[in-house]
Symmetry: C4
Subunit: 192 residues, 4 copies
């Protein structure tokens, strides 16, 4: 029972974050003399926002997939699971801000650095949640190899994000490319 509602709350938060990401994308106000070309120019000018949105959407798909796999295997939940899951969701809910910032100012360094920091906080809090659920369910028929892989994935995630933050100080564009590459890697690879 606990699990069902905890999953519902998590699905709710992730679904909302996925959807409000795009709200930053505003309809421009045209002068009466302006027409289609102004809309097209505005749209092209906003393409980095769209790209930034797509990156974060893919990131959220991967987080949801990991969360789903983790809770699917788990059987026992407690108070601490609720709290650690809540903290993870809190950092997930932060994602729209650096996403919008990075889309608006892709050439600046601060947006890419902040995006990386939020990503690290998501990864770190997920690691804590993961660790706790594994301990809580130790000895149960939990898919051990899958867990080993997921631990590896979490560390991989954290390491790549730290590197991407470092790169952001030099070139935000390369850093954004790394952020885009992470979810694509997890999406295309065979084993979870």
């Amino acid at each position: 029972m606990t699990k069902t509602r905890l999953e519902a709350l998590s699905d709710g938060v992730i679904a909302i974050v996925m959807t409000i990401l795009i709200l930053e994308f505003k309809v421009p106000k045209l002068e009466s003399s302006e027409g289609d070309w102004v809309l097209v120019k505005d749209f092209i000018h906003d393409l980095p926002v769209v790209l930034s949105y797509i990156i974060s959407f893919l990131v959220l798909i991967v987080w949801w997939m990991s969360h789903h796999q983790l809770f699917h295997g788990a059987e026992y939940m407690d108070r601490k699971t609720i709290i650690l899951n809540g903290i993870f969701l809190m950092f997930i809910a932060f994602i729209p801000y650096p996403t919008a910032l990075m889309g608006e100012y892709p050439s600046l360094r601060f947006p890419s650095i902040l995006y990386g920091i939020i990503g690290l906080l998501c990864g770190g809090s997920y690691y804590g949640l993961y660790h706790h659920i594994l301990n809580k369910n130790a000895g149960h028929p939990f898919n051990a190899s899958g867990n080993a892989l997921s631990f590896k994935n979490t560390w991989l995630h954290l390491t790549v994000y730290i590197i991407a933050i470092g790169i952001a100080f030099v070139s935000p564009y390369i850093s954004i490319a790394v952020y885009a590459a992470v979810p694509i890697y997890f999406i295309v690879k065979k084993n979870g």
Copy 2:
């Protein structure tokens, strides 16, 4: 289990998109000398936004109905189902932007073209999801005639949207009429 949460995430995203569509509809700021007639005039001026909202709401009802039918029949889900479903939801989440744009500037061509493109992306990603779920569940007591029909529907959807995009270059109003006709057709016809 996978199916339940995947459906919950999809229901969440579609419910949010349905609801935020109308947020574009803002309360006007009146001068102290202005009264009811300014509100009425503002409301009438915004009627294309309402109409555009209603079209997209009907489109979303049809998408939800198709998604529901597809997952209802399916039994086996995998990693790829999650990803393809996520990409479909991403395009669904794009719908509010061209909806607002089309409501604000119904006489311009770009909004209708963009609305059609997003519709094509929804249709194309749905087709991919459909194809994958059908392959994954091949040989199972899946309603074959329903599936054949749905494939036909998907192709019909894609073809009509391509034509509507073409029409939008000439007359956006006819194009909008086509976008309105598509969900009404799927709603009134007998077999899904």
Copy 3:
């Protein structure tokens, strides 16, 4: 299965509408010389918005309660149920706009009239949904007296709203009082 997802979609839309109602309530921008009293004055000035929000929240609780009761008793669902339910949800999603308008301009007539019209559309579409579900489940152990009552309630709702719209042309404040009285009546009375 159909029922579960249809309920989930409905719960999602109603939960979102309940929550975005209050988003209209904005934090004021203070000048550096201004302090607590400006915030208090702004808050008092916005109290009609809060009141308008509370009315709509109560209305939504009653709608949710009715919807819940209706689907609880029903067993068979079809394509048409999905569509009629979708149309009901569409009018529900319209509620925030007249709510905000009525809160902002409670002394004007148009907001109260529009609020009544949206209420009528919710009531009318609910009546359609109700009628269809009852026909679809005829002969089944459906709580007949409860249904008779609910039909009476729906007609009561529609009649009172038509009267309230008429009153709004004369005095919007009395009309708002009627809108507030309707959900309170359904909440305090014993039998649903």
Copy 4:
């Protein structure tokens, strides 16, 4: 059945409130001559908003945890449960406004006072819901000690909030510290 949908509606509202809290955090508009440092300065300037958001997120985690525990133990639900739960959710949905106000003007007294009042209304309506569910399920194998504890918690919550409102008249910062301490206390303590 009633319970499942009531939980779903509550999870939906709480998930949305958790997520829209952060929407107040807007991307700044830079002049073309401005760069990273303006973004950093803007971010630092907005840190109280982030802090205020984190406090409310923790508060919401604790509310959700309490709600979950309460409904987990309960078996019988009725019309009155729906209504009392709806009123509780209404006050929960108010949380984003004082949160944003407190984040924007942490040195003023009104935001902290209003935050406390909303907290009291959440606590009071939760107490009513709690009381009703306990009466409704009296004599059933409900965890009696857990309930006694939760009653104690509810009273503790109400008392501390009244004190914090009093403190806000003297020092809003100490009051905010108390609001932050409450969820942290409930999160770190062993027994619920």
